[in-house]
């Protein structure tokens, strides 16, 4: 069922755009080039981003044992952004080197967040995301301070607006890094679940808590930094998709992780299609549609379930 929906949406995504649908269907003109260079890479990057951002959110929520933590609410994305900026300024050259630098920076800032919330004695469910938001704010203000100094505020701002409009063959392939990570997440799903119960619980079941925690951080940081570099910031997915699935099917990660991944892809695809149709033939940036649709759902979740929150 889900796969049929996903497939149908994918076909729609390939068909809509500036060029009339009949062109694509009949392979007229340079339809083939259009598909191979533009539409298919765009579709693939949406699918990968949707899947990996929601899985990254799921893992973070599990490891921090808090439903409102995700790369966008815990400073991970802000850390990645600061990482990109610094790598540019200190002249880390080469795409791979810069990506790697950003990843390491993201890993450090995310690790620091987890350390901070482990130190906070009062583990209130609202306090943890609050700490995350404050922490992200601090990182963001450092980023903007540096950006002001070097007069590149606009450049930094564009990373805030995630967009798939610029995805073309040749500039999105970094996203494939996420695929093995998704497989790895699935393999470790039950270990993440146990780690979510805490250090002592893990130990009594013979699970190395620190190893699982570190692996989770690496996965989340790699996913976040590669996505930020390639498509930019996509808000909310990491929070709403895992929460929706958790409400419907619980938290048994081995069972829910694939569903979270697919749902994330479907959600992002829908947002992208809507964004491309509203002011056709122009586009609304996807972060806008995601914010509006996702934000509404998120608010609904907050209001509906104070008990589990």
């Amino acid at each position: 069922m889900v796969f049929i929906v996903l497939f149908a949406l994918s076909v729609i995504s390939l068909l809509i755009g500036h060029v009339p649908v009949s062109y694509i269907l009949n392979m007229e003109g340079n339809a083939q080039v259009l598909l191979v260079v533009g539409r298919i890479p765009r579709l693939i990057s949406i699918l990968i981003t949707g899947m990996s951002m929601s899985v990254a959110g799921l893992i973070m929520q599990c490891l921090t044992n808090n439903k409102f933590v995700a790369p966008t609410t815990a400073g991970t994305i802000d850390g990645a952004r600061l990482g990109i900026l610094i790598s540019m300024l200190i002249g880390v050259s080469g795409f791979i080197a810069r990506t790697f630098f950003t990843f390491i920076f993201t890993l450090l800032t995310t690790g620091l967040f987890v350390m901070i919330i482990n130190r906070v004695k009062l583990k209130n469910t609202t306090l943890v995301p609050l700490v995350g938001i404050v922490y992200g704010g601090i990182l963001a203000s450092i980023t903007f301070h540096i950006a002001f100094e070097f007069n590149i505020v606009q450049g930094v701002n564009t990373w805030l607006m995630g967009s798939f409009a610029t995805v073309l063959r040749g500039n999105y392939e970094l996203l494939y890094v996420s695929l093995p990570l998704l497989v790895l997440s699935y393999v470790f799903a039950d270990k993440f679940l146990i780690a979510g119960f805490g250090k002592d619980f893990s130990k009594s079941l013979g699970l190395s808590y620190n190893t699982v925690m570190n692996l989770g951080l690496v996965i989340v940081s790699l996913i976040s930094s590669t996505i930020l570099i390639t498509v930019g910031l996509i808000p909310f997915i990491g929070v709403i998709i895992p929460n929706m699935i958790s409400l419907m099917m619980g938290d048994n990660l081995k069972k829910t992780l694939p569903i979270v991944a697919i749902s994330g892809a479907i959600f992002l695809l829908i947002c992208d299609i809507i964004g491309r149709l509203i002011i056709h033939p122009f586009e609304v940036p996807i972060s806008v549609t995601v914010s509006i649709i996702g934000g509404t759902i998120f608010l609904f979740l907050l209001i509906r379930r104070p008990k589990h929150a």
Binding site: L193, G198, S246, N252
Partner: protein
Amino acid sequence: MIKLLNITKVYEKKEVVKDLSLEIEKGKITALVGENGAGKSTVLSMIARFMKVNNGEIMLDGQSIRSIKDLEMAKKMAVLKQMNVANVKLTIRELVELGRFPHSKGRLTAADHQAVDQALEYLTLHNIQHQYLDEISGGQRQRAYIAMVVAQDTEYVLLDEPLNNLDMRNSVNIMKILRKLADELGKTIVMVIHDINFASAYADNMVALKDGKLIRAGTVDELMNNACLNKIFGMNCNVQDVCGDKVCVYYKSS
């Protein structure tokens, strides 16, 4: 057998457990009793290896627990801390399945499923096994966690205040189950418990701690007397024989 040899634990420059030596009998229920802050939970945590020992040695069946690998340990000893009310939405069965992790590492075999079924049966949870943990009562939830420990199928079981927040009926229910685990399955159970009369009625042995030091260890009969309890709890206790159990009356103690 669990053997503690001259255990000392220092926490924030304070000795919370001082030179404690102790033997915990196999196949029996041992209750750790004492005032708040006597060091009972600390001792339990050290046996479970949640905390490191500063001085001394803890031996499990003649082997130092420091030399046992985590996974091996998890097959020998199951630990349940004061109810882990994790923010996780799982069904009872899914929770109990986690207990099989040390054996299956996540990939449940037919034998694992059978062990889970048995544990659910043992705690009469099979009828509600697909309900979520946040939808059931506190007593049922505690039984679910104990079912997980049963599914882990270990010789040793450590429990930190298993009766915490339970009403009378559920407390009796849990204690009866623990008794069955010791009698029928031969498990060695060590628990921290505050209700001295529950300890008296269901445990075999008692270990009394005060200020991190051992006051007395022995059978329930040896410890359940006025002089001994007065010393442990620092208040006047009046032990009576009621229906074959030794019951301590202390509610209006001066």
